[in-house]
Subunit: 147 residues, 4 copies
């Protein structure tokens, strides 16, 4: 059974995602998931991701991740990518992510992002507007915010 | 002035598309354009691209292309990718493609695809259903079909 | 302190590996590591990876991985990618992988690969020649084979 | 017959370069070629590419390119990537590039790079040290410098 996440977006599996075995090349899942985080920040939290990076010079690099690839995805599959918040720390954000087609889970992942200054590449506090928006997101989706 | 193509799709420029200069890394435009061709075949022509490849074992590799990068695109830009048919040959398809944001052209390209057998990697005739669907597409968009 | 792995290969960090923050985009580490596994199989174990896949139709997809990104890598850095065997199972191979520049660890990862038939995408036994070659590799590097 | 270029580097075609048809996905050729240009600037011209970009804030984006894909490359192929200078302008550099395996040409390309300020993304003169180094390269390989 696949987890239904608090924030989900549809995606079509592309030729460019697939390898000579005809299935998604696993690093491509991480590219997809990175775009999902962008959409979540920009569209769901209401904080334009590109401005966060390029104007405010605040990055959200990954410090750790773990993934399980539970079923294959093939070119042309229409899947859902999903994201829930597992933990909101002082300087970091713990996410649960996944990919499913209907009930079938294709991929699940836990990922920790850390807020950094793009000038120093050092960790900084999660900016207040981002923190507040994540807090409201957790309130709207309580079962996901308290794992 | 940007060309308005017969088939257009919106795209958000992603973090993953951009390079250390903060702008789209040019090979990423070609990945985007490849997905546009997939969508055109599947959604506009009504021939599932993944079945064409994986079941019917007919590929559409690129034999030549030329591009001009006329303005930069940055992370977060919402652009339109577009495609028109320039020429439909016995075994090949000539396309014009582009990327624009409103009136501003970012990128334009000409590309020749050839139909091949994925078993032999040799050129084969454009399959009749694909040929007919492209013919109807050109009829619906005549100014693009006669360059 | 970075782990010195049993099999190491140098790599230059490229423009194409880096993101708008000017550092390696994390999915690119997984692409690098995938090529390291290829080189290990082909060059160290003596079993041409491309033949394993394309002729023998045996794949080595990833079923799980976990990574920690411990320091950033920038364009132009000359790093070492490394691999050790953690566990050799009936149908799977557990690897430890890493990236270092001298003593500084940039990235470490554990990855489980499973042998599959590329026809059915089902798990199959590790082929005898691959099993024997991995066994000899572990013997040559005993501290890595018994974690 | 494949062109033998003034600057050549070996490359192994990787799993990650290849598509579900089992051959190089064409945008991957452009990623390869981009790395070749980096190596040419850093190793042959003696100007560290990463410093040119990140410290001196001078980029070399592509303004136009044209490619012909003349034969397929498969995973495991050991190829040569090559580069010659076609034209050195005030603000731009015209290159000829290619990929061959022995006598067999796989890919050929013409590409125009322009020097830009990474602050303004506007064209600037080719810096004197880069201009001089390219001039000496052309002198060492005269037949390529006068197309």
């Amino acid at each position: 059974m696949a987890t239904i996440h608090a924030f989900e977006r549809p995606l079509r599996i592309r030729f460019a995602h697939c390898d000579p075995a005809g299935i998604v090349f696993f690093p491509q899942y991480l590219v997809m998931v990175n775009s999902l985080v962008e959409d979540w920040v920009s569209d769901e939290l209401g904080i334009p991701y590109s401005q966060l990076l390029m104007k405010r010079r605040t990055g959200l690099p990954t410090v750790s991740l773990s993934c399980e690839f539970t079923a294959i995805s093939r070119m042309g599959d229409e899947v859902l990518l999903g994201l829930s918040v597992e933990r909101l720390g002082q300087r970091s954000i713990g996410l649960q992510l996944g990919c499913r087609q209907g009930d079938e889970e294709r991929f699940r992942m836990r990922q920790v992002l850390v807020c950094t200054s793009l000038e120093s590449h050092r960790a900084v506090d999660v900016p207040p507007d981002l923190r507040n928006a994540i807090g409201r997101f957790i309130e709207r989706h309580p079962s996901r915010g308290t794992p």
